[in-house]
């Protein structure tokens, strides 16, 4: 049992933090938000550090790093409120492409590692509400090709992706876990329509409309859903770490503000009502950090234990993000609700993280459904 980071991991953290401080200050981020929420230049910056290939196997030109390294990077990207879809491309999509083991998937992986290609998972649908097996999009085998029909929603950086990993049904009714397969759909194919839009946190997303679009099968029904679940769990762990970084920074901003802002002739940090609130913020932050570690360290467990652990983590993070976000805005008073102030942007990102890969209520249901007689970290 050991929660220390290795020297290499500390160096990795340092590298990402320095990049954020130097190349990703708040004004630059603001410009990216204005331009639609994605910057090719910033993405290149991440690629130049080797980060886009962080979890890509060395055979495909990546670094082949593990979950703890990913956690370290995500904490720092969270601290800097980085908009570019590192987790979506380099952790989640990269995992699925690697699981697919096809020659074309390997090519996409190489592209990701080089920072030339963005591939993202497109699994959410208008009515799926976080349920991975709830898939209306259909795939039909016609003349030796798979043709896909359906609409995927809130696809991260959809307008900038070269390809999409699409969950689609090859059989069964809308909720049947057995009939879900995964396909790679290239953006340039006929029948692929991408409708980009910004999200509440200033990032880029898109609707993906497929009308007879051709796709290459990445994982067949039966294999696809377990891989998809695992990829989403990797995504959840990444989001947990990102949230910890964001909350850590937001709490620090709030401490700074409380120590400088004066009312009634004294710093507001002297008021006990506010001090206790800050103690509660610290509590939620440390519980969240603890469960972020838990999420990452449980990724290697068998599916059932892993899913339960990741849901437990997302419940804690959901509660913490809501509390820390709302209270840090409150503690800032009027300035906290302005667009000008960085704090509100942290709050918005934390809010969107809660609604990605399952919100608190959804995961609480998962924890309930997967409950065992025993309890605790090793249950």
């Amino acid at each position: 049992m050991d929660f220390n980071f290795t020297d290499d991991q500390e160096m990795l953290r340092d590298t990402v933090r320095k990049w954020v401080e130097k190349d990703y200050d708040f004004e630059r981020r603001r410009a990216t938000v204005k331009a639609g929420g994605f910057s090719r230049e910033s993405w290149k910056g991440l690629a130049d550090l080797g980060l886009t290939g962080l979890a890509v196997p060395e055979a495909q030109g990546g670094m082949g790093f593990g979950p703890v390294d990913a956690m370290v990077v995500m904490e720092e990207l969270g601290r800097g409120l980085v908009l570019e879809p590192f987790a979506a491309v380099s952790l989640v999509a990269a995992h699925l492409l690697d699981a697919g083991r096809s020659p074309s998937a390997a090519l996409w992986l190489e592209g990701i590692a080089q920072g030339k290609e963005l591939v993202v998972l497109a699994q959410e649908e208008r009515h799926s509400r976080y349920r991975l097996a709830h898939v209306e999009t259909r795939a039909e085998h016609k003349g030796g090709n798979w043709q896909l029909n359906g609409t995927k929603t809130v696809v991260p950086a959809g307008g900038h992706a070269g390809a999409f990993i699409v969950s689609a049904r090859t059989g069964g009714n809308v909720d049947d876990p057995a009939g879900v397969a995964l396909f790679v759909v290239s953006r340039g194919e006929p029948g692929v329509e991408v409708k980009p839009y910004p999200t509440q946190d200033g990032a880029a997303a898109a609707e993906l409309v497929l009308k007879g679009a051709s796709g290459i099968e990445l994982l067949p029904a039966g294999q696809a859903l377990p891989a998809l679940e695992r990829a989403v769990d990797i995504g959840i762990a990444a989001l947990c770490a990102e949230a910890v970084g964001a909350m850590d920074r937001l709490a620090a901003l709030t401490v700074e503000y409380m120590n400088t802002r004066k009312q009634f002739g004294v710093p507001i940090a002297t008021f006990q009502a506010l001090r206790h609130r800050m103690a509660d913020v610290k509590m939620q932050l440390e519980l969240a950090r603890s469960m972020s570690y838990f999420a990452t360290l449980k990724l290697g467990e068998p599916a059932n234990a892993r899913r339960r652990a990741l849901s437990q983590a997302k419940v804690q993070l959901g509660q913490s993000m809501r509390f820390v976000g709302q209270q840090c805005v409150q503690l800032h008073g009027g300035i906290g609700v302005t667009d000008e102030y960085a704090g509100s942007h942290y709050f918005k990102r934390l809010t969107v993280i809660e609604m990605t890969f399952g919100d608190t209520m959804f995961h609480l249901g998962e924890v309930s459904a997967r409950m065992q007689d025993t309890a605790g970290v090793f249950a």
């Binding site: 049992m1 800050m278 610290k282 309890a375």
Partner: protein, 394 residues
Amino acid sequence: MDLNFTPDEQAFREKIHAWVKENLPREISDKVRNSIRLSRDDMQRWAKILGKNGWLGWGWPKEFGGPGWNAIQKHLFEEETALAGAPRVVPFGPVMVAPVIMAFGSPEQQRRFLPGIASGEVWWSQGYSEPGSGSDLASLKTRAERRGDFYIVNGQKTWTTLGQYGDWIFCLVRTSNEGKPQTGISFLLIDMKSPGITVRPIITMDGEHEVNEVWFDNVEVPADQLIGEENKGWTYAKHLLAHERTNIADVNRAKRELERVKRVAKGEGVYDDLRFRDEIARLEVDVVALEMMVLRVLSAEKSGKQSLDVAGLLKIRGSEIQQRYTELMMLAAGPSAVPLIKEAMEAGWQAEHAAAGAFVAPLAATYFNMRKTTIYGGSNEVQRNIVAQTVLGS
């Protein structure tokens, strides 16, 4: 980073597990598992079993006759005993006063007092709080005046847990009114059989006699029972608080009790009620998060690389969770928790009245009893003051 214990640590755990299974009397663990009142004999019997094996002072270094375990081994010992249904060791002797005697007592005092603590023969109580000094402990007024080779002690202590069984009591007493309140306090060890000491019960809202008032009327205390220097007692007491560490979160007991919440909920037919199940799920997440926080502290202690200043957070969260699991168990029983059946707290009652809901009869009393946890050991509001000071830097 690695979540798992090392093979050595795992082997250590198995050793403790086997020993506890062999040595913890079933009558005692049955009481613990069902919130049945433990007698003085029950508590002391378990203490002496541990003492005989050299484990009552499980946190002690080897030089004072302890096992010399590291932070993780201590945690594993606490976990295995708690999960097996062992009673909480009454902490005043082995956990609270012993470390102070080790750090600040004279060699003579160490020889005199530590063996009786280690064996479980001598029952210690704590004399800190006073009627006028709760959270503001440094305002305490119990006076000790030096006269020749004695201190003459006058005043009143209160909330003295299990003081009715105490052989000795360690007290914070005022020896000076000069300067800040903290600088006039001394740390005194007092024989509770001394003339002039009166112990009076305080009955708490659960109907139990757990805490007491202890009155001192011209009690003569030999001066060689002063720990360290006069007027330095506050420093020694703070050292003691620092020694409570992760223990205070009591996460191991929380794990055991969460399992019990599930059993009670199943027995009462609410486990499959989704609204109720979600409440258990919330508590389960809280317990896992608390355990992870405890493990982080242990890892930091083991490596000595970083310090993790979360003792206040552990106290707040641990006590909230203790209250929550007793609350949920009571709510699971619902109306069956309402009848006041005093005999239900006694061993042996259950077998006869099993059909009348014996299993759930003590749940409300336990819920009432646990309201103390957010008040004692520095109220949770005082803990928030301390946390805020660390976070805000002033």
